[in-house]
Amino acid sequence: MSPLDHKLLRDLWRMKGQAFAIGMVIAVGVGMLVMMTGLVTSLNETRAAYYERYRLAEVFAPVTRAPDRMAARLAAIQGVGAVEPRVVGGALIDLADFDLPVQAQAVSLPDLREPRLNDVFLTDGRMIDSDHSDEILLLQAFARAHDLRPGDRISATMNGARRSFRIVGLAQAPEFLYTTAPGELIPDDARFGVIWMSRSALAAAYDMDGAFNEALLSLSRGANEAAVLDAVDRILDPYGGTGAYPLADQPSNQLVSEEIGGLEAAAIGVPPIFLAVAAFLLYIVINRMVQSEREEIGLMKAFGYTNGEVGAHYFKLVLAIAIGGALAGCLMGIAGGRALIQVYVAYFKFPFLVFQLDPASFVTGVSVSILSASAGGLLVLRSVFALTPAAAMRAPAPADYSRTGAMGRTLNQWLDQPSRMVLRRITRQPGRMAGAMIGIACGMALSVSMITIYAGFDRTIDLTFNVMDRSDVTVSFTHAASEKTIFELRRMEGVTLVEPLRHVPAVLRNGLDTHRGVVSGLAPGARLGRALDSDLAEIPLEGGGIVLSTALATKLNIRPGDILTVEVREGRQPVLQIPVTAVAESLLGAPAYMDLAALNRALREPNRVSGAYLTIDEARATEIYTALQDMPTVAGVSLKSQAEIAFQTLMNTGAGAIRYVMGGIAFVITFGIVYNAARIAYAERSRDLASLRVIGFTKGEVAFVLLGELAIVTLVALPIGGVLGYYLSFGIAAGFSSELYQIPAIFDPASYGFAAMVVIGAAVASGWLVKRDIDRAELVSALKTRE
């Protein structure tokens, strides 16, 4: 082993504390990258494997009533693999623990054979026996939410008739990873159930003998999806087909995609910010470290070592720290990813896990660390090499403080000697101070942006449930009913306000950009459900135009004044051309609003409503629920309070939950930065500080000289970091926003205050750690040590 390599190892050991701190900052940045990309890759792989294993359909074709023989016609379409006709229908389940009946979907399973498509995964009990028409499978998540087990009986209303069923098994299915009641956005296991029954039993209940009302199709390799959809629509149109749609538009899959997409956006958007901050810090620290080795570099050059040889030596040192940190980061990322993926697998209800890492993230993480570390090392080496060996071996000349004379004179009467030392060092070595300051400002920026994101999540909930939706209860009807229903609701005791609304399923199209969603018709002057602009002022809906939410306008790439194509998927299914009149602020979902009357006119269905917003007298709630249950037109009733809880759960357990992990990492990096800044300042000045002690300064006075500097640098860094953080929060907010919900980047003073506390806390802790070392330093040896 060459003596230089001995030196390398021993130097590493000598600076192990600092090397560890630098390595950790890198490790955390790299670890986050590896963890997040691994998480996204694994979830995508797991989802794909789950879909494949349980043969999830690639095309869903709802129809009013098509005879069984049409299945063969569908199978004959070019590009179609398998076809599975089935019967589905809405149901209401009565539960002892719920005031309100719970909406459910009944789905048929073929008698006597396995389904060709959309198989189920039996988690408890056994499969249904088609000879017993009262046997059902229940969705496991729903059963768990209501503590139902195989062997229990439940009663449900199907097609107007109430019947009793025996649960024989619990199941999961890839098409019901998320279940959302019709007309609602937020999935909730407890408030929507899925019942599987034999085809013969369900067909009897819905009057579908010899017919189906939904066809499932798989595609063969290389099939043209759009062509298949067209062909399916042509075949089913005479039977009341409402438009075949691809898996991408299937509600559960859409939500899973949104959630994974949200994680992916966060994985792509956030770790690079963290890694960049870590890289910058590494650059500063390595730069200082090599600077302090100046004398040894001069000495090696005096012996005749070439610049290349000396450079290679320090490069190895830097590389050892960078690679060590990056590798530790990879391991942390793998461990973190493995732990976190378990949480997400449970959250997404995947029955198994395919754990996969993204090799590109390792390469990116390790190379960014090496590059930034080398840049820090090489830039300063270049400046040391520019010196002659004689100059390099001399301790650098004392910094020139002479030009602070003027300041000194004016401040002399105000400041004592140590304060002047602090001030002069800051004003006369602005480069070094700027390095430390920018580092701490980056830490502040990370903290600010993460904490304002927390506030952004709260803001989304507040705006959605207190400002935009001011109702207590939303009622949805079984079909577009006449306005008479609204009068009935108004007459109910305890109902204080009723506002009609109409949801119309539609495909919105602008050129090649499409969105499968709902157009909401709102009453003029509505007070409970409203379209608001970014200043939270109400947007008038009068006239025939449509108002799109920001998320929708962005997705469809459309602006006010443009014409939107609305393909209605209900009734006569007209295709409408409607001008976009405004863009509305909405943080939940991607709604589109129209004036109720204008919408009905466009559909040529005057005075129709599909639901209503209600405010009620809390004291009479139970009474009202019972009354609603007895109205035959009412398909579902949802309470805003429950929806709010469901939304909060979604944001705290889904993609949104990762914000807490990131917040933790931001804190670690912030602390790492501040601690390193304090350490470097101490290393640079240990000789001066020892000299002060020798001439009679107390430990406290000496600590003041060093920590005063840290304090001033930290205080200056706070506002700068605040401004940086403000801009950073836009990037991070965009990373967390999805089509399902948007997170605004807001200016929240409390968040800034809290972030400042975090940074100051880190500075105080670092100061205390360094002060301990100052107190312990032996004077004589400190004076002897080289810089």
């Binding site: 003596p3 030196k7 021993r10 005096a302 012996f303 005749g304 610049n307 100059a391």
Partner: protein, 235 residues
């Protein structure tokens, strides 16, 4: 007649610019024959260390020429100067300048590894009487021992010339004498030219040639006919 190891013509070194400029050397002309022990005497700031740095290839002159044998150091590139130091020059500094993270043996190895025709590190350490403590780190050695390691390190490459900047400046008389004895041995056994910068005038007694410096210029060059051994020097 002996050949010159070094000769300089109008060697000038100025630090800084304008009003704050410091003239460390003001046109020095000098010849140093090979194989001699040369002592450079003078108060601090008189320019003796600056001269040593320039002819040692550690620094560059502002003006004038410095020749090592017949190569002009002033016209060498950085690469050539590195080559020159690597192949021909050994340095001993007042504060030893050992690598604190390397043992005595490794500090010597640091040089033998890159030299063209080095001696064995153990042999070099034996020459300075440090056979025993070769695996100690600088912090575990006394000042005199550290300086002997530094000398071993300097001589291990079989240098043509050995530069010593205040080699005994930080040592007591006994240890200082021992160090000077080592330098004398190196001069006699290896035939290396030894140049010692000092402001201890008494050490001039062991030199073949004594150069007196003042204000960046040579005041006097004395050729010493009656060399004393280090033991005979007044300390």
């Amino acid at each position: 007649m002996k050949k010159n190891t070094f000769s300089t013509k109008g060697l000038t070194k100025v630090y800084g610019e304008g009003r704050s400029a410091v003239h460390a050397l003001r046109g020095v002309d000098l010849d140093i024959p090979e194989g001699e022990i040369v002592v450079l005497l003078g108060p601090s700031g008189s320019g003796k260390s600056t001269l040593l740095n320039i002819i040692g290839g550690l620094d560059r002159a502002t003006e004038g020429d410095a020749f090592f044998q017949d190569q002009n150091l002033s016209q060498m590139t950085d690469k050539e100067l590195t080559r020159y130091r690597r192949d021909h020059v050994g340095f001993v500094f007042q504060f030893y300048n050992l690598m604190p993270s390397l043992t005595a043996h490794e500090n010597v190895e640091l040089v033998t590894e890159i030299a063209r025709d080095p001696m064995d590190p153990d042999e070099a350490l034996a020459m300075v009487g440090l056979r025993e403590r070769v695996d100690h780190f600088p912090a575990q050695l006394s000042g005199g021992e550290q300086q002997r390691v530094a000398i071993a390190r300097a001589v291990a490459k079989n240098p043509t010339v050995l530069f010593c900047d205040e080699p005994t400046g930080a040592l007591d008389s006994t240890t200082g004498r021992a160090v000077l004895n080592v330098l004398k041995d190196v001069n006699e056994k290896l035939g290396a030219t030894v140049m010692i910068v000092t402001h201890a005038a008494s050490q001039a007694a062991m030199a073949d040639r004594v150069i007196h410096f003042a204000d960046g210029a040579i005041r006097e060059v004395v050729v010493n006919k009656n060399k004393l051994t280090p033991e005979e020097i007044d300390w």
